[in-house]
């Protein structure tokens, strides 16, 4: 095979692989949107109606409890996790941390990232049992925060690392304090940090395994921090395995909502990143 034939073959393979991925994605999103959309259009109220007392058996009411559960668990978890992630990443970049320590922490974070989320769920569950508590919104938040932490830290760390040293040097040269300099450096890294924030949030919204054991698979509205709750992915699992065909159809509606949220977040991260990238060194104003 001559070199141009080889080049054509590789090009073809790459395009085929891309097409396959796009096709699978189109089918998944398309089917979810079509079937979920049909259910939702027929009765949009199910997304904002609290479940009835026998919702899983009779499909009375809707799944507002999981919508709220998702918001109440993933929202606070993202805030906590982001604060920890930014602090960790800033520390790893700073003059306080040695190169070897940073490398070690990064390896550790990669391991955490690769750990299946069900392991976090079980881990937090053992804590729940050890302290003699029961599954609740609070432990759901803890589990999701632990799950998001390595994702957000790695994104933030990468972003800060890619911000040029020269910016730091330039601000110090002007007489900036460490903090003042960090603020400007962070600005250069903002697209990456925002991407990390949104990716972490999206992953948190979409994960079932972590909340399965920790938040409680509740079928009622969340009533307090230490009361059981549930999130959309767990609800979808429960709905999809229900005996009642109408409940199963609600699983498509819930999936629709979930996919729209995740797609929306990813789109938002793209737009925001582009918006901030205008100011980044090397960026061009459009």
């Amino acid at each position: 095979m001559d070199r141009y034939a080889k080049q054509r073959a590789v090009g073809l393979a790459v395009r085929a692989a891309t097409a396959l991925v796009l096709a699978v994605m189109a089918v998944v999103i398309g089917v979810t949107l079509a079937r979920g959309g049909r259910v939702l259009l027929a009765d949009p109220a199910i997304a904002i109606t609290p479940p009835g007392s026998r919702y899983m058996l009779e499909a009375n009411g809707g799944f507002l409890h999981a919508m709220l559960g998702t918001a109440f668990i993933v929202g606070p978890a993202t805030v906590v996790s982001m604060a920890l992630a930014v602090s960790t990443a800033a520390y790893l970049q700073s003059d306080y941390s040695s190169e070897r320590f940073s490398d070690a922490v990064n390896t550790f974070l990669n391991v955490l990232w690769g750990t299946p989320p069900i392991v976090y769920g079980v881990f937090v569950l053992t804590v729940v049992i050890a302290v003699g508590a029961r599954t609740s919104l609070f432990f759901g938040i803890v589990a999701i925060a632990v799950f998001q932490y390595p994702i957000m830290t790695r994104y933030t760390d990468e972003a800060l690392r890619s911000a040029p040293d020269t910016v730091r040097e330039a601000t110090y040269g002007l007489g900036a304090t460490r903090f003042e300099s960090a603020v400007v450096t962070a600005r250069a890294a903002l697209p990456g940090i925002v991407a990390g924030l949104i990716m972490g949030f999206a992953r948190g919204v979409g994960d079932a395994a972590t909340v399965l054991f920790t938040a409680g698979r509740s079928t009622r509205m969340p009533r307090g921090l230490f009361e059981p709750a549930t999130t959309l992915p767990v609800l979808i699992f429960d709905q999809a395995t229900s005996f009642n065909a109408e409940v199963r159809s609600h699983a498509y509606a819930a999936s629709f909502v979930l996919i729209v949220i995740v797609l929306g977040l990813i789109l938002a991260s793209k737009l925001l990143a582009g918006r901030y990238a205008r100011f980044a060194p090397g960026g061009r104003n459009s």
Binding site: A163, T166, A170, G173, V184, A188, R278, P281, G282, N285
Partner: protein
């Protein structure tokens, strides 16, 4: 005898990474007020390291040891209780690489003024930003797009913006690290013209590896080789009557091509 703005005494810098490298070996130097002092020498002779040591910029870098003394108008720069940011404000530093802060053009110049509180009102801030942008001949090129990202400027414009930004905090001395080496010949010429104009009212220490640039701009020349001062003299005597053998060789011809990078003439 003109008065001295910046003085280095036995200043030495050692990198303590995988192996110890003494990049700057005990340099004594006086920088006279309102003159342009050029520090020249081949690449890797310790020029930039020396310049950063004058501004305590090695503080922020791990694995660097600095010894010796630096005095800024008689005040010690090292081993003092005065916070380093205050000292660095008084010593302007323009890095080799044209670096726009990830802010708008306006905010790039206003940045130093803001962090040090050097303005009384919004109007005053506006005026100062304009004043310093004019001083580096950038105002007319950017006055209609001050709010756009500085990263959108050309590298030559960014380098002049860096000068404006450094001047805005009213330093006693301006350190310029090969500020034209990353630029194309035309931008380099613009920046050089700006430097020449600034040299009339500021004290500038300029690192360069270009002899011709030193010849064109400098009042005083310091020749560094392998971390040591070989010769320091007024620009005329330095080039017309070099005292040391090594200086003679350096002055008499571009033996190594890096001596002449970025020189059009």
């Amino acid at each position: 005898m003109t008065d001295t703005v910046l003085e280095a005494e036995n200043l030495a810098v050692t990198y303590t990474g995988d192996r110890r490298v003494e990049a700057v070996k005990g340099i004594d130097l006086s920088v006279p007020a309102n003159r342009l002092t050029a520090v020249i020498g081949p690449s890797g002779c310790g020029k930039s390291t020396f310049l950063k040591a004058l501004d305590r910029l090695h503080d922020i870098q791990p694995g660097v040891e600095v010894s010796g003394e630096v005095y800024l108008r008689g005040d010690p720069v090292y081993g003092t209780d005065e916070p380093a940011p205050e000292l660095r404000r008084r010593i302007g530093y323009v890095p080799q690489e044209p670096t726009a802060l990830p802010l708008s053009i306006y905010e790039n110049v206003a940045y130093g003024l803001r962090i040090h509180g050097i303005h009384e009102s919004k109007q005053d801030l506006d005026d100062r930003v304009e004043q310093y942008l004019r001083q580096v001949d950038l105002w007319d090129e950017v006055d209609d797009r001050l709010d756009t990202p500085a990263a959108g400027l050309s590298t030559g414009q960014i380098q002049r913006l860096c000068l404006a930004r450094s001047l805005a905090v009213e330093p006693d001395v301006l350190l310029c690290d090969e500020v034209t080496s990353a630029l194309d010949p035309i931008s380099a010429e613009n920046v050089e013209e700006t430097l020449a104009a600034l040299a009339e009212e500021y004290t500038i220490v300029m690192v360069t590896h270009s002899m011709n640039q030193a010849k064109r701009l400098a009042d005083e020349v310091v020749f560094l080789y392998l971390g040591e001062v070989v010769e320091a003299n007024g620009v005329r005597s330095f080039f017309e009557d070099p005292q040391h053998e090594r200086t003679k060789r350096f002055v008499s011809g571009p033996a190594e091509d890096e001596y002449v990078v970025s020189d059009a003439d």
